[in-house]
Symmetry: C2
Amino acid sequence: MFVDSLLDLPQLRTFYTLVQAGSFTACAGRLNRTQSAVSHAMAKLENQTGVTLLARRGRTLGLTEEGRRLYQACEQAFATLDAAADDLRRHQTLAKGRLRVGATLEFGSSILMKHMQPFLAANPDLEIDFTLDHELLGPLLRDDLDLIIDCLEHPLPTLKKSPLFRETYVVACAPGFRKAHRLRVPADLSSGPVLSLDKAGAWWNRFLMAVPDREQPQLDHIIAVNHIRAMIHAAIEGMGALLVPRYSVLEELQRGALVALFPAIRPTEDRFSIYQKKVKAGQEKQRLLTRYLQGLSPEEFGS
Amino acid sequence: MFVDSLLDLPQLRTFYTLVQAGSFTACAGRLNRTQSAVSHAMAKLENQTGVTLLARRGRTLGLTEEGRRLYQACEQAFATLDAAADDLRRHQTLAKGRLRVGATLEFGSSILMKHMQPFLAANPDLEIDFTLDHELLGPLLRDDLDLIIDCLEHPLPTLKKSPLFRETYVVACAPGFRKAHRLRVPADLSSGPVLSLDKAGAWWNRFLMAVPDREQPQLDHIIAVNHIRAMIHAAIEGMGALLVPRYSVLEELQRGALVALFPAIRPTEDRFSIYQKKVKAGQEKQRLLTRYLQGLSPEEFGS
DNA sequence: ATATGACATGAGCTAAATTCATGTTTGTGG
DNA sequence: CCACAAACATGAATTTAGCTCATGTCATAT
């Protein structure tokens, strides 16, 4: 029944916090969980051990004798582990020197800048230069850059590629625009203007290919804007619907300036990767930055 | 980035085992995981802490200075926790006295008996009587039984109900029978005999109701057998297809004496619950048995 | 009595951990 | 020196475990 360790570590941590907090609700608060989660966890712990640990006396929470002993063990064990964690943090190898980073314009100016601050703060002896451009491979090979973040494939044997995140695309528009044009399904896009990076509307192909034949819209009314940021502002003003990488409009979606359309349609994704010369990828400063960026991955990139 | 504890406890346990085992593959063996799982876990641990812990020197596994310190902390912390776990196990409150348990015939004689041994062994001072019958509520209310396990609903305010498991049904037959009658879809059942608890075939309604109209079989050739165990033996001999609770044929399915048919069809499930008088549910012996049975839950019941 | 606060419960869902299939690196024997 | 094998890494798909939501129960206060 108990395969490896008799005690389930996450549950113990919950138990430990619960005793300190004094109530399920308070414990849930500290752990950023709901009261329900704490309750489930404690029920499971008591079942797995087969021992009653908590004495629910009406509205006050007590411990059984066994619970008290377990708490003491937790106190000691977690103190040890937390000390070890602090120790690790202090001994985190710090990057130093100079690092020249390249990235695509849109990604670099939004997401990358937004997340570099903590890394810079943690590594005060590191100086970073950013170069935002579309042509990144050349400078990398010429050693004008040490590390680039790009969504193009560069399959060269001298380069080390580290996947960073998948760029997902969204169709979005201003809330008022959706209402005015009654946008419910992709076909409804025929009725209003759409914003495109190019005049011909090829920009939208990525989306159209993901739409089932039945619902294909006719994109007749195209407004070309050759700059993504400008396109976003145009969309916010209600000039039309747009298709952009989700990361570029994370903030607008959150505060409601734009609303995402047709979540069921999933356009093909691009993959952003970090590229570095293999010979230099081993350097501490490069390794640390790579690791830091990969550590962000969840939905910080909107994927 | 690290919300609660800086160190992810399950990953630490993996790290600890890895160092002891000396290799990823060996560690995976001890933890009943794959090598890949260990690799993923360690990669994540090193990323989250931002510290290199393992020195992969070719074919031998070493530790960095930080890794060594972390291992020592683990050693101490886990020793404490394991000791606490042992302590808990020793102080597990034991049931004693006499407990009269009732259960339905089929469930009691198969699954229940199969799983009671460990509980009895762990509680030598407990004497248990089993009563297997279909009429269980009366004896419970009359205090001839202390605790019953039943799939009927007994919504009485004086009773405490504890859900135990969901009884799923399967259609099955002998492998030869399936071949002989070419059973591919439910409609194929028309071509051969089916076993039923009752002569009229109402026993099969539970299944028929889950079959889409298009595929409804005509159950003309019904062989009535008024006992489930006998029905199972009949099916093994190739006398027909049967419909039974999955738990009653777990063993036969495993060793291939019977094969499950139409896994896509999901007949409605019954729920087995433990019922006890509320006034007696608080007693240690009743609580412990309830907890033990609920702890089994996974697929021990075939659901 | 009824309302209120605190925990329990179940179903459904989401996110994380695991596995599968495959690639990469390092040491070994031909 | 090259091919091979052993040990770990990686990505994608899948499974599982844990969380949340909605609701129920119970004890205490009004």
